[in-house]
Amino acid sequence: MARFGMVIDTRKCVGCMDCVVACQTENDVPEGYCRDWITTEVRGTFPSLTMEIRSERCNHCDNPPCVYCCPTGASHVENFGKTVQVTANRCIGCKACVAACPYGARFINPKGYADKCTFCMHRVKEGKDPACVSVCPTRCMHFGDLDDPKSPVNELLRTRTHHTLLPEAGTKPRVYYLT
């Protein structure tokens, strides 16, 4: 059984936010909210600078605090792809998961339930990449099965230096950033 993850090449990303816009239209994300976003991290002082640009979202953690804290079981790990999902009609909008997520990846949809990136499972089930991956003009994002040693995502992780966000939180995030 697959364990989906994402590998994002920060060298190629230009931070254009196309991934954010595509997620909005693909998933009808309500205005004023987003399921993915861009972070730029600048290091150094003028003129000795480096910058990392990252497209960020739910990390679909292997050790997901949002799932553990959910009082109703709405937040759960889906069998298909081991992704973290929310069953909207089981969610009571208590925001425990919003508080528990160290990445700020969740919000309460105006319709009353916790909302976040789904890794576009509706597309993946049709054999497509998530919308953000498909739209990216720089082709900096890669989606695939982390349990398949032959998958392109694992190939990238084997050959390139990479990091995850807040590894110290112990959440075992599954979105990797190539540097």
Binding site: D9, R11, K12, V14, G15, C16, M17, D18, V20, V21, A22, Q24, T25, E26, E31, G32, C34, V42, G44, T45, F46, P47, L49, T50, M51, I53, S134, V135, C136, P137, T138, R139, C140
Partner: protein
């Protein structure tokens, strides 16, 4: 109901009934110009319709997805060379252009004073009667030449055509004098041809890319950015010259944070270094160059050390960057840039860039600048335009701007102000917000006062629409047919714009407006087709392609032809000498520098900073700030200030300030972005914000307008380009 099926059936009806029998004077009788009739029940499920994008000027092919009769999303068309299956954020956000609640909805006629934004909604017939009456009066008194047009984008085609048929001759786009004009003229002077759009930069195959002020990645010129990302992946060295640590600079091997306005010093020193050390393509220069020795002698005076002093960049860095890109010739590109109207000597800077490319011998070479190719598309037989015995108003007989090869917007504005060479009494403004596009708003507003007629055609209520006598609401590109796109690139391509969804209100497409106007002006024969589908089908079928196929695919690629020497292309140069002109006799004859010279553009006075501007990936000019999707990505602009400078001025990140320029003009409030990513003597903002038209509810007074602060501008004496980086500003703290 299946949308594509309806369209195809209608196409068949048209071809059966009227194709080829387009008698002159056929009037349009109200066949719905849309893919779906307004009262048709919404189709269930998802229907995909290809069209090409107009969110910017790159014109990428996309596929609209209509779900249950509503526009769901807009994705790239894999067949299209501009998008290669992926749109940029603005293209993806085109859905917001359709749903934008701030859109113009009905034709409006002004009732109060100009600019007071008091309107009365009228019918289309009333609007065209009003316009035609005014036009007839202007023509009777001054001649049709006294009605000018400013335009941007594909959609202007038929309105422009009807104006030309009426005898109008003055048409200008800010895309020339306020954007890429200096570049194209600089390259034409050197190589005999400009670069056009998309630029023929073979980034896909290059071994080194030099960007002088170009901020690829922040300007999302789609296929170009895609190739840029590929170059990064291939670990191609990138060299960026920019006062700001742009996104591109963050990807670069060498970043040269030059003092703004000193680019020419750097370029001259680079050329001298490479010529002196023999690091240039001698074979290319020998075979194709003219006046190289005089050129070499002229640039001898510019040392790297001198350039270091002028630009504020270490000599070692200047040298290292030059050796890097020169070593990779001819597969090296010094990017020509696009919006290059910075300081008023931009044609000469572009010429320096052209000459640097010539030294690399990269013209028509793989990994350099390839030679675009197109495909032949037949014209629809249209009546000839009447001849005019008057000169063009902007640049009479080329006396004002001898090397301008397109009309100069500010030249028309000046003619409107002065009445010379003849009065300009009417303006048609199509899809360009002149208040933000032209320098010095005050001059534009003054010119407007001399007009008897100002018509604005747009999808949103731009600032210029606020001053119009008549505002004509156009449907967005997603809701209309337009002229065919016959693109030039690695191969030619033919792309179709077709409606994918109904307009939400009483908006109409440009071609329909043109037909109505032609009838009112008494020249219906200028639009001798029943509707635009007939026109398009004629052109496509006559060219040997299937219109039905084009409707289905959106794009047809032309034949592959050689575009580089490697592919067997013979180089030729359309300069007067037939050579690459290192020393330009053309320029010398007209009293200009035959080899570019450096001019010091000064330093900001104490307490002031030079204001430079650029693009954001999610916005185009001043026309997308009200798009709900794109506003969600970037609602307002920020003023970038060096963090240390901000600290010494007591400015905090996120704090609102106003900017005051050297002429005392104060901007709307704008947030401070205190950052290491910019020189201490420079501030930066993305242009297009700070809207003042209240009808743009979402964008009204969000951020500051760079255009408003551009009151001091230099005009390029070669071709009339107007600068946008000549202003100095200081901070006014919000109370």
């Amino acid at each position: 109901m299946d949308i594509t099926r309806i369209s195809r059936r209608r196409f068949l009806k048209i071809t059966a009934g009227t194709f080829g029998a387009a008698a002159a004077g056929v009037q349009w009788h109200g066949l719905a110009p849309f893919a779906i009739a307004a009262d048709a029940p919404a189709a269930k499920g998802v229907v995909e319709i290809p069209t090409f994008c107009e969110m910017c000027f790159w014109r990428c092919g996309g596929i609209a997805h209509i779900r249950d009769g509503k526009l769901w999303k807009f994705e790239g068309n894999p067949l299209d060379p501009q998008s290669r299956g992926r749109l940029c954020p603005r293209g993806t956000g085109a859905v917001g252009a359709h749903t934008d609640p701030d859109r113009l909805r009905k034709p409006l006629v002004r009732v109060g004073d100009r600019g007071k934004e008091q309107w009365k909604a009228v019918t289309w017939d009333e609007a065209f009667t009003y316009i035609a009456d005014k036009m007839k009066a202007i023509k009777a008194q001054h001649g049709a030449e006294s009605i000018a047009m400013f335009n941007h984008g594909v959609g202007v085609r038929f309105i422009q055509h009807v104006l030309k048929s009426y005898g109008c001759t003055n048409f200008a786009g800010p895309s020339f004098a306020q954007c890429r004009g200096p570049r194209d003229v600089g390259f034409t002077l050197t190589f005999g041809s400009g670069l056009g759009s998309p630029e023929p930069t073979d980034i896909r195959n290059t071994d080194c890319l030099v960007l002088v002020g170009s901020h690829l990645g922040e300007n999302m010129h789609n296929s170009q950015v895609q190739e840029f990302a590929e170059a990064i992946e291939r670990r191609v060295p990138i060299i960026v010259v920019d006062p700001r640590f742009s996104v591109a600079a963050s990807k670069a091997k060498y970043w040269l944070p030059v003092k703004p306005g000193t680019d020419i010093a750097l370029l001259l020193a680079w050329m001298n270094l490479l010529v002196t050390e023999g690091r240039y393509d001698k074979a290319f220069v020998e075979k194709h160059g003219l006046g190289f020795d005089k050129f070499a002698a002229e640039i001898k005076q510019y040392s790297v050390e001198w350039a270091a002093q002028e630009t504020g960049v270490d000599a070692s860095l200047i040298r290292a960057a030059a050796l890097e890109f020169a070593a990779r010739r001819p597969a090296t590109i010094v990017h020509p840039g696009r919006r290059v109207n910075w300081y008023g000597d931009d044609t000469q800077r572009s010429r320096a860039i052209a000459l640097l490319n010539a030294l690399m011998g990269n013209w028509g070479r793989k990994g350099g600048l390839f030679i675009q190719t197109g495909m032949k598309v037949e014209a629809y037989p249209l009546p000839k335009y009447p001849k005019s015995d008057k000169p063009l108003a902007d640049n009479p007989d080329g006396t004002k701007y001898p090397f301008a090869d397109e009309a100069v917007t500010t030249g028309i504005r000046e003619a409107t102000l002065t009445g010379k060479p003849y009065p300009i009494k009417g303006w048609f403004v199509y899809s360009t917000n002149l208040i933000q596009a032209l320098p010095n708003e005050a001059e534009t507003l003054k010119a407007i006062q001399n007009l008897d007629l100002l018509v604005v055609v747009d999808t949103i209520p731009s600032e210029i629409a606020g001053y119009a006598d008549v505002v004509l609401p156009e449907v967005t590109f997603l809701e209309r047919y337009d002229e065919l796109l016959a693109g030039w690139g690695r191969t030619g391509w033919l792309a179709l714009r077709q409606p994918v969804i109904n307009a939400p209100a009483d908006q109409k497409p440009g071609w329909w407006m043109a037909q109505q106007l032609a009838a009112k002006l008494g020249i219906p024969e200028s639009m001798p087709f029943k509707d635009i589908e007939e026109y398009l089908a004629y052109r496509v079928e006559k060219s040997g392609y299937s219109f039905a196929d084009l409707k289905k695919k959106g794009v047809i690629l032309g034949p592959k032809k050689p575009i580089t020497v490697e592919e067997g292309l013979e180089l030729s140069f359309d300069t007067p000498s037939g050579k690459v002109e290192f020393w330009s006799d053309q320029l010398a004859k007209k009293g200009f520098d035959p080899v570019p010279k450096y001019k010091n553009h000064g330093t900001a006075p104490a307490g002031h900073f030079r204001l430079i501007t650029g693009r954001a990936p999610v916005h185009t000019f001043s026309r997308t700030q009200t798009n709900p999707l794109l506003a969600g990505m970037m609602r307002e602009n920020e003023v970038w200030v060096n963090a240390a400078t901000a600290g010494s001025l007591g400015l905090k990140n996120g704090q609102f300030v106003k900017l005051k320029n050297q002429d005392g003009v104060v901007s709307n409030r704008i947030r401070v972005k205190a950052t290491q990513r910019i020189r201490p003597d420079t501030v930066y903002m993305v242009y297009g914000f700070g809207h003042t038209n209240k009808m743009l509810k979402r964008a009204y007074q969000k951020g500051a307008s760079a255009a408003q602060l551009n009151t001091k501008y230099e005009t390029d004496p070669l071709m009339g380009g107007t600068s946008i980086h000549s202003n100095f500003v200081t901070f006014v703290k919000e109370a």
